[in-house]
């Protein structure tokens, strides 16, 4: 067997990898290479899961609440106040309030994150439905659509732009907030950020994890914009 070319062996000696890391320079590419698959990629994956679950559950709850308040107007006030109160609780405090009940788990983090999506999603879905022009609702009924047919064929499709706008804000908000969730469940891109802070503010890790969170937010937003364009072809053909 021919001898292998010299392999770059990471330096696991004290202080991490080389002068860059030991002197805590702004950005050490070697550290990123060594820790991508072990630290950053799993954290990114967890972050995506945290966000998807929170926005998914939040959307289902908010849609149910908005549909109820659309039919029964008196529900708007209690739902509006309830979601607004949830929205104003500082995130760290909310994690601490929930921790005794669900422990330092992902459940605790998700409950808090879902809470923050409700106000935005509830308001946007309800506003979208309310803004369906009265004459469009009138003709839907006048042509023989049942309330359910009118809702699914006319009102919800027309509320889509407002609903998608709400989803975009909620998603970006959750991606940002989910970094704090690592405080309670040690998951997501918040975990490497906390590690970096605890290790004398290790800049490379801090920048990488923070940068990934920002990029994730941008990518998620672009995906939602793309989805909206696909779902609302009528809105761009004016």
């Amino acid at each position: 067997m021919p001898s292998l070319p010299a392999v770059v062996i990471p330096n696991f000696t004290a202080g991490g990898g080389g002068a860059c890391e030991s002197q805590n320079h702004l950005f050490c590419i070697d550290w990123v290479r060594r820790n991508w698959s072990g630290v950053l990629a799993p954290a990114l994956g967890q972050h995506v899961v945290l966000t998807l679950i929170a926005v998914g559950i939040g959307f289902v709850l908010a849609l149910g609440m908005a549909l109820a308040a659309y039919r029964l107007t008196w529900l708007e006030r209690p739902f509006g106040i309830g979601t607004a109160v949830l929205y104003t609780i500082p995130s760290l405090a909310l994690f601490e309030i929930l921790a005794p009940f669900f422990g330092p788990t992902r459940t605790t983090a998700e409950i808090a994150l879902v809470g923050y999506t409700l106000l935005i999603l509830f308001r946007n879905i309800l506003t979208g439905l309310r803004e369906v022009p009265a004459e469009v609702r009138d003709t839907a009924r006048g042509m023989g659509m049942s309330p359910r047919q009118s809702l699914f064929r006319v009102e919800l499709p027309l509320a889509l732009p407002a609903i998608m706008a709400g989803l975009r804000i909620a998603t970006v908000t959750v991606i940002s907030l989910a970094t704090v969730a690592a405080y309670i469940c040690n998951q997501g891109l918040g975990a490497p950020i906390f590690t970096a802070i605890n290790e004398n503010v290790f800049k490379t890790e801090l920048i990488c994890a923070g940068g990934l969170a920002i990029m994730l937010a941008i990518v998620a937003d672009l995906l939602l914009v793309g989805a909206q364009r696909l779902l609302t072809p009528w809105a761009r053909s004016r």
Partner: protein, 345 residues
């Protein structure tokens, strides 16, 4: 629907249905209101005719129209469509059988023109091929190129085009009755006139029973086979043909509503071809000429402009049909129009 109560006519087979519509002592009172919105309203619209509901704002004309498809529940009396009470039907089923056009048209902005037109057929569960065929047929009927318009969205259409698509959508499932609430109200005056003419040509083809609501007496006279004038409180002031309404207003309210120029409006209902013109009497006519198809009101205007001298009436082939004078027109007005055949039970 009972066959005996529907009119079959010579129109294309895809527009076969029209039904009589009867208001029988209809009343509507809103809870908590001392005055009824509609009081004891009775009249009958024969199948295939346009009945215009007209009156000042607040007279209940739109309410009366919306009672027919039960968008507003009635509180007294009955409405019969093709001899059958609308109260016997599930509202959703009833509405699928009644074309519905409102002033704002209410096209669905998120659906293409084809999908808008196919709304009721889709609710009725037609298969795709039948819907496509029907949509194309209707687009042609309203003077649009199916290949060009089918996949557009309402926002890409002009106001007049949207209005026509609204009418096509209401016709899609060949309803025996159409309800139209100020369908030309939001259109500029010049386009409105063209759309009215277009609609009358369309109605000559499809021959639907139509309830047409407007506040504009001129539109009522132009569009209606019969006109129901309503006064405040939803009471019927007069139900008559346009000619009869103009010749013999039932009371002061109707006379005021149709206007002091009602004689002129009556003249506009007929053309010179409807008159017994004065024979040219051998002498070659050398006065000003006027076409036989001119309406009598415009002919009177021309006579006045000519200083009262007789005008020579010529047909399309420029052949002299006779003479018309101010005197002759005056005599036409003195004659009463034939009374409309009685329709109220």
């Amino acid at each position: 629907m009972d066959i005996a109560d529907t009119a079959q006519h010579e129109g294309p087979p895809s527009f076969a249905q029209a039904a009589t519509l009867e208001f029988r002592n209809v009343s509507k009172r809103y809870p908590g209101s001392s005055q009824p919105a509609i009081a004891d309203l009775s009249f009958e619209v024969p199948a295939g005719e346009v009945c215009v509901l007209v009156g000042p704002s607040g007279c209940g004309k739109t309410t009366a129209m919306r009672l027919v498809n039960r968008m507003i529940p009635l509180t007294g009396g009955d409405i019969l469509l093709g001899g059958r009470s609308v109260l016997d039907r599930r509202p959703d089923d009833l509405r699928k059988e009644i074309g519905y056009v409102i002033q704002q048209i209410g096209l669905f902005p998120h659906l293409t023109i084809a999908d808008n037109i196919a709304t009721v057929p889709r609710l009725l569960g037609w298969d795709r091929q039948r819907m496509t065929q029907r949509t194309d047929e209707l687009l042609v009927l309203i003077g649009m190129d199916p290949d060009e318009m089918r996949d557009r969205y309402p926002a890409q259409l002009s106001g007049g085009q949207r209005q026509r698509v609204g009418v096509a959508r209401a016709l899609a499932a060949d309803p025996p009755l159409m309800l139209m609430d100020e369908p030309f109200g939001a259109i500029d005056p010049i386009s409105r006139e063209r759309l009215q003419d277009e609609f009358l040509r369309l109605q000559a083809t499809v021959r639907k029973t139509i309830v047409f609501v407007t506040h504009d007496i001129d539109e009522a006279i132009k569009m209606g086979d019969r006109i129901a004038i309503l006064r405040e409180g939803g009471r019927l002031a007069q139900f008559a043909t346009p000619a009869e309404l103009l010749a013999r207003p039932a009371d002061e309210f109707v006379a005021q509503f149709v206007g002091a120029d009602r004689a002129l409006k009556r003249l506009a209902l007929s053309t010179l071809a409807d008159l017994r013109l004065i024979a040219p009497n051998g002498t070659p006519a050398n006065g000003d000429r006027v076409a036989l198809k001119t309406n009598v009101r415009d002919a009177l205007s021309l006579l006045l402009a000519a200083g009262g001298r007789p005008l020579t009436v010529v047909d399309d082939g420029d052949r002299v049909a006779g003479l018309v004078t101010i005197d002759l027109i005056g005599r036409v007005l003195a004659d009463s129009p034939p009374p409309a055949r009685p329709v109220a039970p």
